[in-house]
């Protein structure tokens, strides 16, 4: 199937997401809440594009729009630029000191001084990626709570969660580094809970929490798991492979 993005003919599979097709064809669409590993929130709306389907124009979020027919797509029309500018102005108003948002808003011409003000400490844009990551991990320790303008991400009753393993996946996927994760003296603190950090048996780097490794061990139904960090794991696997092929 062929679709035309900004005048360029692109080959697409039926059901493929528009953003994916654009990316493959080196057409840039800005995103905040999109993650290849955790598709589907569609909440930041920054990736909106205009589509023309059988003469009918509409605005869709490209990250979650599955292509079903041959359509024309405009990723950077005046209309789209105006919408993105407004969206970034709104995000800037919410997180005035955030670096990622500030860089984007400058790119789209949102001035320093705007009518609205926001909390200088706020960095969260409520995209929901952290919640999705936690859900995928299987611990379901955080969720969006409340609704409307009072919505926020938190643990149940804002208390340290019993199911949180301190893996930090939420912080890794956050596009604006809004989740505070502090590591000091062998202790990782995240979501108001302290976790003991474990050192890699090979290189000695403190790389994971005890709870996290225990969770992995149980999930894999193993009695014992070697405690190696990601880098060392790779090195060890490489060495094993080398030994197989170079006896």
């Amino acid at each position: 199937m062929k679709i035309i993005i900004d005048g360029k003919v692109c080959i697409a599979q039926k059901g493929e997401m528009l953003l994916q097709i654009a990316k493959r064809n080196n057409i840039f669409i800005p995103t905040l809440c999109h993650s290849e590993a955790l598709p589907g929130p569609g909440s930041c709306r920054l990736c909106v594009v205009e589509i023309e389907d059988g003469g009918r124009k509409s605005i869709v979020a490209s990250c979650i729009y599955p292509v079903r027919r041959e359509i024309k797509v405009f990723t950077d029309s005046e209309k789209i630029k105006a919408i993105r500018k407004d969206l970034l102005m709104l995000l800037y108003a919410r997180t005035p000191e955030d670096e990622t948002i500030n860089n984007l808003r400058k790119e789209y011409g949102v001035p320093d001084k705007i009518r609205f003000s926001g909390d200088k400490e706020e960095h969260c844009i409520l995209c929901g990626l952290c919640v999705k990551a936690c859900e995928e991990m299987g611990s379901n320790s955080i969720s969006t709570i409340m609704r409307g303008v009072t919505k926020k991400v938190s643990t149940p009753y804002d208390e340290p969660s019993s199911s949180c393993i301190g893996c930090g996946s939420c912080a890794y996927v956050c596009p604006t580094d809004a989740i505070e994760m502090i590591e000091r003296d062998g202790i990782r603190t995240i979501w108001n809970k302290d976790f003991e950090l474990v050192k890699c048996e090979k290189c000695g780097k403190a790389f994971a929490t005890k709870d996290q490794l225990e969770y992995n061990r149980k999930k894999l139904s193993e009695n014992h798991l070697d405690v190696y960090c990601e880098t060392c794991k790779r090195v060890i696997t490489g060495e094993k492979l080398r030994d197989i092929y170079q006896p």
Binding site: G42, F116, V149
Partner: protein, 601 residues
């Protein structure tokens, strides 16, 4: 022939103590029945519509309707009307247009212009008794399709009828069923959306409370047509009576073989489960509602793939509104040709509205599509309270818009309302008079939406928050003219970039008030004046010395004793005591109280 006394026990009448009226009437009827030749039955019914005049008591076959009945009136009704066949003049409905009392409610203008399809049984049956429904032709439509029609014929009949979804969107119901039927993926689900949440709306509630079986019958007909065996009715938990009556109806329908396994011996199975909603407005949005049924947070998803293909648990799903379901059995029985004769070209049938606000006949009405808004407000509704100057009518709830007097002659149908910048919505009609500030109305709706948006997408959550900030500033006298441009720009962004229907329609109250009542916005911004005398910072009240007759009515009604003056001499308002409630303005019969600019404090 027996007498039957119907006591309205709809939500409005219940709030006016109709349950006590029912109990007292029942007590006296039982007491006097013993020796009477003509026995009397008593039934508690659903909403009759004229909530303003409740509690209503109807006496058949005499075609008498009593209004504002108190428990103390019970014995007199039994003795005089039931035994002596005498009318009790003071309890008859006073028709504000005819300016006299009428015997039957059907003689009032309020009822005269209505046509009841979805509400056909409400007020005529006891919703807690399935026999009442069956006696009025209930479940005959189900029997008809099971014995005489193929699923395809059912879908074709609904498609031909031109019925469009009554939940607000107006999507053709038959087409929805057909699309779902074409998809070979089972199981399929049938859902009734009873999560009514618009401020001032109680259409769906009244149907669920007053005629629950019609919903069950409608859903079962659809289930047969699309080959589904499981249905859900999603009811917001605040609707306790609706929940109770719906549960009872499902139980009775199962006992009678209208629901459950092997329905009416046809080997077709269909069961319905009730799901209680937690009261989030956004869960009335179909995809959020499905999320909620699945046990997830009620947040909508994009509808690029429709629910008929991938809905509840990713299976093909038909979701219709309560009122849509209530139309189905009647269309099956009387045929699509009959249904086609009612309404306009593109909007067939009738529409139920809850008529509220500054209107004389507050209540539940069902009118044929195509009636003008003017007739709806002034004939059915009886005009504005106190015959104040009409200003606007708000349709479609928070997603709708405010329609000004100049457009009152537009017909009520899906397309005309949309053209006027509003929408049909689920059927809330709020009448506004000269004492309604349109900026304040827009602010009110955005405040509602800022709390009720699910908060998932940036456009809706942040956009509404900031629009509300601007509107609040304007109402407080801190707005600027450039705010209006920003407001409009934000409206367009929220409209086009929001994820779901709630966000996409959220700017409507702002856009329509900006379009039709821009002068009010400008008065707030440039003159620091609220023309309706609502926004407190921008309002003060003054008494015109020339016009004041010194009757003292304003002083009597002033809650803070801010008005003083000798009888028959002009009164004055002490602005330091005045809380700007506007009572004095509303009660003055000599037009002597004036709305002036706000005084800086």
């Amino acid at each position: 022939m027996n007498n039957t006394v119907y006591v309205c026990c709809g939500t409005g009448c219940l709030a006016s103590n109709s349950m006590e009226v029912y109990k007292e009437l029942k007590r006296f009827i039982e007491m006097y029945n013993v020796n009477a030749e003509v026995k009397t039955l008593i039934k508690a019914t659903g909403c009759n519509g004229l909530c303003e005049k409740g509690p209503l008591v109807k006496i058949e076959p005499h075609n008498i309707c009593y209004s504002k009945v108190k428990p103390e009136d019970a014995e007199e009704i039994v003795l005089k009307t039931l035994i002596e066949s005498e009318l009790i003049e003071r309890l008859l409905i006073y028709d504000t247009i005819k300016k006299k009392r009428v015997i039957s409610h059907k003689d009032t203008d309020f009822y005269k212009y209505q046509q009841k399809i979805a509400l056909r049984n409400i007020g005529e049956i006891d919703p807690a008794n399935i026999n009442d429904y069956v006696e009025r032709g209930g479940y005959l439509a189900l029997e008809k399709i099971l014995t005489e029609m193929t699923p395809e014929e059912v879908i074709a009949e609904i498609e031909r009828s031109g019925l469009r979804g009554r939940g607000g969107g107006g999507f053709p119901t038959g087409l929805k069923w057909k699309q779902c039927d074409l998809i070979e993926n089972f199981p399929k689900y049938v859902i009734c959306n009873g999560d009514e949440g618009d401020p001032g709306a109680f259409m769906d509630r009244s149907i669920m409370e007053g005629d629950p079986n019609t919903i069950i019958e409608g859903m079962t007909i659809c289930a047969y047509a699309i080959k589904s065996n499981t249905g859900f009715i999603y009811i917001r938990d605040e609707y306790s009576l609706a929940l109770k009556n719906m549960r009872l109806a499902i139980k009775q329908a199962k006992e009678r073989g209208f629901l459950g396994g092997n329905i009416m011996g046809s080997s077709f199975d269909f069961d319905i489960e009730i799901v209680r909603g937690g009261g989030a407005f956004v869960c009335g949005e179909s995809t959020a509602l499905m999320q909620s049924i699945e046990g997830n947070v009620g947040e909508p998803r994009a509808k690029y793939i429709h629910s008929v293909e991938r809905g509840l648990w990713d299976k093909p799903t038909i979701l219709n509104n309560v009122e849509t379901w209530a139309n189905i059995p009647k269309i099956i029985m009387k045929g699509s040709d009959w249904f086609n004769t009612i309404g306009t070209d593109n909007s067939k049938g009738t529409k139920v509205f809850s008529l509220v606000g500054k209107v004389k006949n507050t209540g539940l009405v069902e009118i044929p599509m195509g009636m003008t808004l003017r007739d709806l407000v002034f004939k059915v509704g009886g005009g504005t309270i106190g015959d104040k100057r009409f200003k606007a009518v708000q349709t479609g709830g928070p997603s709708g818009g405010c329609i000004p007097e100049s457009l009152l002659d537009s017909p009520v149908d899906f397309d005309s309302l949309k053209k006027a910048g509003s929408m049909m919505g689920s059927g809330g009609i709020i009448v506004m008079d000269e004492r309604t500030c349109m900026v304040d109305v827009a602010r009110y709706y955005l405040n509602f939406l800022s709390e009720e948006s699910c908060g998932k997408c940036v456009a809706c959550r942040e956009g509404i928050k900031r629009m509300l900030e601007i509107l609040t500033d304007i109402c407080n006298g801190n707005g600027t003219e450039s705010d209006l441009d920003l407001l409009e720009s934000l409206c367009h962004t929220v409209e086009s970039a929001s994820l779901c229907g709630l966000g996409k329609t959220a700017p409507n109250p702002v856009l329509t008030t900006l379009k039709y009542f821009r002068d009010e916005y400008l008065a707030h911004i440039n003159e620091k004046r609220c023309p309706a005398g609502v926004c407190k910072n921008l309002t003060s009240f003054e008494i015109d010395k020339q016009k004041c007759t010194g009757c003292g009515v304003c002083a009597k009604n002033c809650p803070t004793s801010a008005i003083t003056g000798e009888i028959k001499k002009p009164h004055i308002i002490d602005t330091s005591l005045c809380i700007k409630c506007g009572n004095c303005y509303d009660v003055c019969r000599f037009d002597a109280v004036k709305i002036a600019k706000g005084v800086s404090v």
